[in-house]
Amino acid sequence: MVVNGRPVRLPEDPRVSLLDLLREHLGLTGTKKGCAQGACGACTVLVDGARILSCLALAVQYSGRSVLTIEGLAEDGQMGPVQRAFVDHDGFQCGYCTPGQICSAIGMATEIERGAPSHVTADLTGTVEASAAEIRERMSGNLCRCGAHNGIIAAIQAACGAGP
């Protein structure tokens, strides 16, 4: 498995989730654990570009795959465009759901680019617009208890134009 461009060893205990591998074994604590049950989205990471809930993934299943976490989004110590947009639009308060929101937003943007429809997509055959309604629908798996929803959507809308 490769995490943020670096090869890592898989855990010996097959029960270790991808989330716990990141947080407890690799010290990559930027990815958060909010429920460990697939209900909050705090643990969202990108695997080969697709967003997944790392708490519902066993680490050993991801042998040979490439994992990107929040720590891998900054380049040369500079925040990536989505990260910067979250700061600019106050897309968080306590910050605990934030890495998951950001990774989820990046994964979502590629889904929209690909034309994958959602529940609120009116035309299933055309291109999909990154409208506020689409983003809200597609980001609903990422809970934020601080209520930073407006800032998160504004940040994603601002960043989506610039690409992930």
Binding site: A42, I70, D90, F92, G95, C97, L143, G151
Partner: protein
Amino acid sequence: MSLEQAPLPLGPSSWAIDAGPDPLAARQGLIGAPLARRDGPAKVTGEARYASEVRLDGMLYGALAFSTIPRGRIVAMDTSSAERAAGVALVMTHHNAPRLHSTVELGTAERAAAADELPVMQDDRIRWNGQPIAIVLAESQEQADHAASLIDATYQPEPAITRFDQARADARPPALYQGDPLRQTIGDPWTALAESPHTVDAVYTTPRHHHNAIEPHAVTLAWDGDELTVHDCPQAVTHLAWSLAQVFGIRQDQVHISAPYVGGGFGGKMLWQHQILAAAAARLSGRPVRVVLSREGVYRVVGGRTSTEQRVAIGAEDDGTFTSLVHTGVVATSRHNNVPEPFIKPARCLYATRNATFEVKRADLDMLANTFMRAPGEAVGTFALESAVDELADRMGVDPIELRLCNEPAVDPSSGKPFSARHLIEAYRAGAERFGWEARSPRPRARRDGEWLIGLGCATATYPYNRFPGGAARITINRNGDATVEVAAHEMGMGTGTVQSQVAAERLGLPVEKIIFVLGDSSLPGVVLAGGSQQTAAIGGAITAAHRELVGELLKLINCDSPLAGLHPDEVGTIPGGLGRLDDPSRSESYTAILAAAGVDTISAEATAPEGMEQLEWSMHSYGAQFCEVRVSVITGEIRVSRFLGSFDCGRIINARTAASQLRGGIVMGLGLALMEETQVDGRSGRIMNPSLADYHVPAHADVPDIEVMWTDIPDPHTPLGAHGVGEIGITGTAAAVANAVYNAIGVRVRDPPITPDKLLRHSPGR
């Protein structure tokens, strides 16, 4: 601070009746500026370290096992399989737990932080369903979780009160709650009600709620002899240090709490059993321990907001003036604590009336202690009160805003005190205009768009101004003119460090980049609860006091040829980078020059803010007008909140960006209260049935429309900075605004939130 401004006099040395307004309250510049969060980059890059992310050498992972009965005794406990399981270092139960002193319940001592005073794993008694009965320590979380699942307890159950209707029969007045008996009668409310030409009299219920911060409660700790270092996520670092010291029989300064980041709190992140169990198990095992509650564990170990049953009756004259106001009811509590959700607080300050009665009774259950949750009292109290006012307006055929405004009191109706600042009318007028209130039809079901009925509703928000004793700060300036401000305060998402850096910068006349604000550590000055929306004023008052002290120290340092020589602190004021004479600003000295001339590298001053005397003199509250538009499907009963606006009167706003987020965050939680949140309890067993984020629904992105917030920005002349805290007011009034909008849309009055589709369809007259 701009160069043209006159020197800024020091803040008042007291907040009693003769104290002038804080000069800072009238300043432009950094006060009010929408600065981006200073900890933003750390939070968006994953660098911010939360309590469960600190790694200690040789650390063990903990897992808890919970009781499955509400009341009785543990008669046998088989821990042998758990002890034999791979990686297990310790299984601790009441048999081998170290003897501990009792906890001290929050509110009964200055630094108390516990929800109750029950013994923690000291005996065989079970007092609620979900009580921790064992803690397992193992080399990995997986091993600990597995071993905890192997623990087998046999119980001898005893009869338990687990249903509200059982407990209600014995409802009784609570002990004093923050010095308040929670009951008061003014005039003759019942006669006045009977004689009123217009009345409403209805019962409203609200269910239990849980805070559900996305960061679960977590603690990583280690003993070194009798010194305990704790990485935690509390809302009260100093309280927690004192409280843990009590339990373990050591001094407060032997407990060191570190909590630079807290992943949301909302009232839930105080002292609960898991921290005590982690520390006790660490002591027994001789190794550092991390305990992170599972999401289910949060529900089992950490109490939430309790349920309420509230009666509101209002009598009114033909012209709308209230003749009588009744707000009474019963709340569920546990046998072991005293947090009777004080839902009568809004009614006591909002409306002018000569006759009123307010009363909260408690009904005791065998359940986990309930606790404070965002706007305790006001969040659910405004739901009932502001729904009732809307019902009355509907019956009388008057506009609900006009009905409210014709009952604006001149002084606080229950205490008789003058208001320190009350601009609710301005907030309503501005909000109504911005929201387009005049487009509302008073008649339900009047606006329709296909299958969707559209309704508008409004409600009043209110939350008190608080400033608890103990706010203290230390300010240190060095020879480069950088200032460090230290307070044992908390950052749980409010933007504390950013906002107070602005305050300190303006107070000191330094650019905000020159301020380092340090918080989240029990070794820092102050006893500062992040609760009651008090941090802004408490820290603001503490910085004011420390600044006054610092200026005194600086004036002592200067030599006799200085232009400031011989002056008293009240004769100087802040100028950019230093101090100037108030009567002649051209005579001034910079901090760096003063330090250089005296040959010292740093100067430091610490002070405690004067007692919150202002709260004795005035009735001090924030207010707001909440406006909601909903769309309700006549086919499915689905409710969509399509627009929301909150117009607030909460003193001077310090940071327009973080304040807006705080207000919106409160409103979002209010939408949850209105539409989806409910902790469900099995009445037979007292066990919480939906202890997960899959089954306890909180607002998701698709539930949250664009929320507009605005404010009067009128300073309160009697508070530090002219400010009030803004963390809680947003949740107040929101649920009533939604319910009132739902009624306006579909003509169904729901008095028992959450307002779910089934409740609408059951009563709806059809398509």
